[in-house]
């Protein structure tokens, strides 16, 4: 069995030795270099672009502007194509834009012979604008008379969906209800993969070839072909190893532009690598969402009616658009079921960088608001927030009609129990109940909800190819991509397991090349282990059948008495190894009678989804006068079904927890209100977590095999980012009694909130009381 083992990654050796090749490592050093000229206003029209000085510079090959690009709007979101137009992504931007909608929008491109020339020429391009008023705030953008970003979206509302159930207005008339309401704010943050987006493009064999750091090669091929109005087969995308993506590279970022650039210089090789600064403001972000939540509960805690409103900041272009806020809203009625609901989610354009997919896709935002709100309810009722969750969070057997998901096991309670025990939660909760002094500790908990993949909203389909080599090893090809999470390794484990060959006999072809690789939509929605698993399982069975048919001829035994075990043809009646798969493969391929190159390839269309649940426990130490919250301990517990590789699963969880810590305490994109320009577009001023910002991270699992899955798995890629920030927030509430309803919870935020709640005065009073008491009376 290859499944369930802590198998070393297939790419570990190449990555620790520096041999693994990423996009820029593969690009010829004499490639032409492209540099983008970005807008220096937040909103307006480009009147003129003076390229004359740039064009005069030696080494400049071409300068192209927003007046040169094809007039074919594109939608950049990394979603599968939809056969029905109504379900397609909004197409609202050109390769370069005359109507610029944020500070940093793409206006022109310089192509030069080297980096230095490209930089100088880009600075020499003079752009004249007709400026328009701009709006940065999501609620202001919705008001009548606010600056309009896209004509067809009135009041800048890109999307508005609702979930209504029961009768809210009637239900709240019940006497004795307790109303809890609050606004909860989440920040604009960035993915910060260490490899910036990079691609290079050239023409060969009549095709446009783009080698790119992307999570979604097959989707980028489609978007690129659409942007250039080319037949889809005329575009070839190659995806080597990539230096992280986290959803940012689940968008066609600059690949379509890069493809167009090579066509403008006769198919010559053009590299387009953007800087860290550009990655911050000119790629994608996580939607900042502002929530207003209201709950009416009975004194016993039961929910009577709930209201949810979300205002999601889309930035300047649609990208993944309303999908994020809609997903966040979708979790709300499911997590704590309630009969009377009014839920509305709005996604609104503003003149800010474009929000897209980011690890968690609306759920980190929704969990921050929802799980902070649960603690606020528990506080209002004066009950233990952990016990409150234990009582009211989604019960076992809960079924959801749209996704057809069922909570088969009692995942939430099992995860909470496990985490509570490891964390020593109850003891700490008690010990920190009555603290005095400047420095206080607190513990908090939060749960999360997650789906697996995108069915039934979009297509879920995965294809796999297996090719048998003469030595009995196989090549495994998937359209699903390795982006660091360890997909290649888990795919190999699954293939080895079902086929019956040793793990080392599976050669995974890590690179996707849309000319060669079977179709797969790529790395997003935490879908690949689940979706890819079906295709691998099905294809392995087909390959095994073909092998055993030949084995019948070669061993003179009926195929139903044969099996493939650990790379050998085994007679099941007595367990005798009759021949190695290597010998079979060689004999069959070179046979003068029945030669066959044994391969299998198949597509599995998945029409199911799966719930993936878990929770976070956080312990903080808050220095009240210093307004500083320090994370002491963080534990995540996940039920993502059967673990294919427990070590890789833990590693996934660590990374997600780290992102959650940044989200809770440190990270935020800041903007100049006067210009709309991003202020902290670098890794010094944008506070990405370093080794110093973390306590040790604990990742635990409850393994309830998912019954709908080929290998018992369900999503894990994104879930670890979802519940950390609210657990930290709830721990700060426990430590200080002050509810912080926004992230990141920086000293600035704590200072303001402590002031509002008179926390400094109360601290003084508490200490004076202490001193007034006789010696020994207040000692703990």
């Amino acid at each position: 069995m290859a499944i369930g083992k802590r198998t070393i990654r297939v790419d570990a050796y190449d990555k620790v030795t520096g041999r693994a090749k990423y996009t820029d490592d593969l690009c010829d050093k004499n490639a032409l270099v492209a540099r983008i000229v970005h807008s220096t206003i937040a909103h307006g029209y480009v009147k003129t672009v003076d390229t004359s000085e740039a064009e005069r510079m030696p080494g400049v090959v071409k300068v192209l502007t927003c007046f040169d690009v094809p007039n074919r709007p594109i939608g950049t979101a990394g979603h599968p194509w939809h056969l029905e137009a109504a379900h397609r992504d909004v197409e609202d931007r050109l390769l370069l834009n005359r109507h610029v909608r944020f500070y940093g929008d793409d206006v022109a491109v310089v192509i030069a012979e080297d980096d230095v020339t490209a930089d100088r020429a880009a600075r020499a391009v003079k752009v004249e604008y007709e400026e328009l008023p701009f709006v940065l705030d999501v609620r202001e953008a919705m008001e009548d008379g606010a600056p309009q970003l896209h004509e067809e979206f009135k009041n800048n509302i890109l999307g508005h969906t609702s979930i209504y159930k029961g009768n809210f207005a009637e239900a709240i008339k019940e006497e004795g209800l307790i109303k809890v309401e609050g606004w909860y704010d989440t920040p604009l943050v960035q993915h910060c993969h260490i490899e910036n987006p990079v691609s290079y493009a050239y023409m060969e064999a009549g095709k446009v070839v783009v080698v790119a750091s992307t999570q979604i090669p097959h989707i980028v091929r489609r978007v690129t072909a659409q942007a250039l109005s080319l037949p889809w087969g005329s575009v070839r995308i190659v995806k080597p190893y990539i230096g992280g993506g986290f959803g940012n590279k689940q968008d066609a970022l600059y690949e379509p532009l890069n493809a167009w650039l090579t066509t403008q210089v006769g198919g010559r090789l053009v590299k387009l690598e953007i800087s860290r600064e550009e990655t911050f403001y000119a790629t994608r972000t996580r939607h900042a969402i502002r929530f207003h939540l209201t709950s009416y509960v009975r004194p016993d805690g039961t929910f009577v009616a709930r209201k949810f409103a979300a205002y999601s900041d889309q930035g300047a272009y649609a990208s993944h658009g309303h999908g994020i806020a809609a997903k966040g809203m979708g979790a709300f009625p499911q997590l704590y079921p309630c009969d009377n609901l009014e839920c509305d989610a709005y996604t609104v354009f503003t003149n800010k960088p474009v929000a897209g997919a980011m690890r968690g896709y609306g759920i980190p935002q929704a969990m921050f608001a929802g799980e902070a709100h649960i603690d606020d309810i528990a506080k209002a009722l004066d009950v233990d927030p952990l016990e409150y969750r234990m009582r009211f969070v989604m019960p076992k057997g809960y079924a959801e009609n749209f996704s057809m998901n069922v909570n088969y096991a009692d995942s939430f309670r099992e995860c909470l129990e496990k985490g509570m025990e490891e964390f020593d939660f109850k003891r700490k909760q008690k010990a920190y109940a009555n603290q005095t002094g400047d420095i206080r500790r607190g513990v908090g908990v939060a749960v999360f909800w997650y789906n697996t993949g995108v069915w039934p909203i979009s297509l879920e389909s995965s294809a796999c190819r297996m090719v048998l080599n003469q030595d009995g090893t196989i090549q495994l090809q998937m359209g699903e991509t390795e982006i660091g999470q360890g997909a290649d390794t888990t795919f190999a484990q699954m293939a080895a397991d079902t086929l019956g060959i040793p793990f080392k006999h599976v050669h995974v072809i890590s690179t996707q090349d849309t000319d060669i690789t079977p179709f797969g939509t790529g790395a997003y929605a935490s879908r690949q282990t689940y979706m890819g698993g079906f295709a691998i399982h099905q294809t392995a069975l087909q390959l095994r059948d073909k092998i055993l048919k030949h084995a019948q001829t070669l061993t003179r035994m009926p195929s139903y008495n044969l099996d493939l075990v650990d790379g050998y043809i085994v007679r099941t009646t007595d367990g005798e190894r009759l021949m190695s798969l290597g010998k079979l493969a060689t004999d069959v391929l070179y046979s003068m009678e029945y030669s066959e190159h044994i391969t299998a390839e198949s597509t599995y269309q998945c029409n199911s989804n799966a719930y993936s649940f878990g929770c976070s426990f956080a312990e903080v130490e808050v220095d009240i006068p210093m307004c500083k919250a320090t994370l002491i301990k963080l534990t995540n517990v996940h039920d993502c079904g059967t673990l294919i590789n427990p070590a890789l699963a833990e590693a996934q969880v660590h990374g997600g927890m780290s992102m959650a810590i940044g989200y809770g305490l440190q990270e935020k994109m800041l903007f100049d209100e006067k210009t709309g320009r991003m202020l902290n577009d670098n890794l010094l001023d944008y506070k990405l977590c370093t080794t110093m910002d973390h306590p040790d991270l604990t990742a635990l699992f409850v393994e309830n095999a998912e019954p709908t899955s080929a290998y018992g798995t369900k999503s894990l890629g994104e879930p670890p980012t979802c519940s950390g920030a609210p657990a930290i927030r709830n721990a700060i509430l426990h430590a200080t009694g002050v509810a912080i309803n926004e992230t990141p919870i920086t000293p600035h935020v704590l200072f303001e909130r402590f002031n509002e709640e008179n926390r400094f005065e109360r601290l003084k009073e508490e200490q004076e009381e202490m001193q007034a008491q006789p010696v020994g009376a207040g000692a703990r």
Partner: protein
């Protein structure tokens, strides 16, 4: 615009003396990547923030992106490629990174491997907190640093255990 100026740089690279005519404006990172195809030296920010381009210069940790190539004249430079043995044997740090699952996307890995190598070569022991402090110049978005710290701790333990064993023998 002035024409580029070129200069010969003589230095030791991964144990081998070498010289190269380079554009004086080149960073060490550019020279190592473009002139020597040492692709382990990664660019994540180009301004000394992320540590993906970490190399050893005369045993000290530097960001190659903000170090001019001409400054390595007469010095000894080591990249991740130089830590691997002649037959592809992994160094103690590299092996520990493999064993402890400290690798995900792998883009920050070579920089971390080099930064950790400096700690091994110091001959000192480090607490976990000291390791965190010493590795704070390298950013990673995939791992939460947990397995990276574990790997460096493992490499140090193995290294010091091997030293003790060598003395006993």
């Amino acid at each position: 615009m002035s024409a580029p100026q070129y200069k010969t740089v003589n230095f030791t690279l991964n144990g081998v003396e070498t010289h190269k005519m380079i554009d004086v404006r080149s960073s060490l990172m550019d020279m190592l990547r473009d002139n020597y195809s040492l692709h382990s030296v990664k660019e994540g920010c180009a301004v000394g923030e992320c540590g993906a381009c970490t190399v050893l210069i005369d045993g000290e940790v530097f960001n190659a992106c903000i170090y001019l190539a001409v400054w390595v004249e007469g010095k000894e430079v080591i990249t991740t490629e130089g830590l691997t043995g002649p037959n592809g044997e992994l160094s103690e740090v590299q092996q520990a990174f493999v064993d402890e699952f400290a690798v995900q996307c792998g883009f920050c890995t070579p920089g971390f491997v080099v930064a950790a190598e400096a700690l091994i070569r110091s001959g000192k022991t480090y607490t976990r907190d000291q390791l965190r402090k010493n590795l704070a110049g390298n950013l990673c978005r995939c791992t939460g640093y947990e397995n990276i710290i574990n790997a460096v701790e493992t490499a140090l333990e193995r290294h010091h255990a091997a030293k003790v064993n060598a003395k006993v023998e």
